[in-house]
């Protein structure tokens, strides 16, 4: 079990570099939780991703799952509060000054310029997770079916994940 203070500090730092709509959390949390602190195995990390997609909250609910693993219910609470703290504070500051923000074009163009790196990181996460967790042809086929559904239909991820769970029970 990790101390709540160190959990708070870890998730707060992640919250500070949390750009590009949330998916950048996948490579960040994967590195920190699995490789660095060994709080989760790779399998558990992927299971947590599936669970966090079952809720209306953002993908960042992954923080709740990983925090829960590292420190129980309180760990999940601390992780959730601190990962969202930087963006909530920022939005409050923005809300307060939003017609006075001056160098906004610089912020905007810096962020736009940074987003390709986020794309590269997300692709790398898919590569790393796939390379170390896909073991058979059966799983690869499920991946392709999932890909096709997500890419070309509007079915909610929640429905797809529940369906995939049922398929998993049937074929294993």
């Amino acid at each position: 079990m990790a101390s709540l203070f160190s959990l708070a500090w870890i998730y707060f730092r992640i919250g500070l570099i949390f750009v590009g709509g949330g998916y950048v959390l996948i490579p960040l949390l994967n590195h920190i939780m699995v490789d660095q602190y060994h709080w989760l195995t790779l399998r558990q990390f992927l299971d947590g991703l599936a669970l966090s997609q079952l809720t209306p909250g953002p993908l960042a609910m992954l923080a709740t799952f990983t925090g829960f693993r590292a420190g129980g219910f309180l760990g999940g609470l601390v992780a959730t509060v601190f990962i969202f703290l930087p963006c909530v504070i920022l939005m409050l500051v923005v809300g307060r000054n939003y017609d006075r923000l001056k160098n906004i074009d610089i912020i905007k163009s810096t962020l736009d310029g940074l987003l390709p790196a986020v794309v590269g990181l997300v692709a790398a996460a898919a590569w790393n997770l796939g390379a170390s967790s896909l073991t058979g042809i059966k799983e690869f086929i499920i991946l392709v079916i999932g890909f096709v559904i997500f890419k070309w239909t509007k079915v909610s991820p929640m429905v797809v994940i529940i369906g995939a769970g049922l398929v998993g029970i049937l074929v294993n």
Partner: protein, 185 residues
């Protein structure tokens, strides 16, 4: 600010956003659409233009679904309103994930659950691939963007660098490029 927005109570804010956080399955843009429908169209709490500004700022840091809630709450009742809206939106998902996490770590030895998760794992990876492709098509414009995406990919896959450092390096590079472009104009 008209009278109507002055009078919105914190209780009403928390209940509204908890409802959004409870029913907005689909995440991301689905949430934004729901907040727009309820707060702009139904309740008239915020104008459509202000809402879009909030959405644009919401891209800066963190998930924009949460950010538009915070922004709208702040618009209604200042800092307390913003925090109330954020808490209301996150709490249902937080409780649900906590419950699911507890079930998961208590019962993950069950063969049925193991089998089900064997099915969900590849689908989650498929989802990440789709996100990478969709984001790539929207965000990568031109050769330098492509180069940056490839460099970030190689840095994490081949060199095994920490994603946080890659991100910071990209941010620094992008900031310099922005200043440079501004000087040229």
């Amino acid at each position: 600010m008209d009278k109507r927005t002055q009078n919105v109570s914190l209780i009403e804010i928390i209940l509204t956003f908890a409802k959004i956080g409870l029913t907005g399955f689909g995440g991301g843009m689905a949430i934004v659409a729901l907040v727009e429908r309820i707060c702009v169209k139904e309740k008239g709490w915020i104008t459509s233009e202000e809402f879009l500004h909030g959405l644009a700022f919401g891209q800066i840091l963190g998930p924009f679904s949460l950010n538009v809630c915070t922004f709208t709450g702040h618009h209604l009742r200042g800092i307390r309103g913003g925090i109330t809206a954020a808490v209301g939106f996150i709490t249902p998902s937080f409780l649900l994930v906590s419950l699911l996490s507890w079930l998961y770590f208590t019962y993950n030895k069950l063969p049925q659950l193991q089998a089900a998760l064997k099915g969900t794992n590849p689908v989650v990876i498929g989802l990440i691939v789709v996100v990478a492709i969709d984001m790539g098509r929207k965000q990568i414009k031109g050769g330098s963007g492509l180069l940056m995406a490839l460099a970030a990919f190689a840095a994490t896959v081949v060199l095994k660098l920490n994603a946080a450092w890659v991100l910071l390096a990209a941010a620094l590079w992008s900031l310099c490029a922005s200043f440079y472009r501004r000087r040229c104009n």
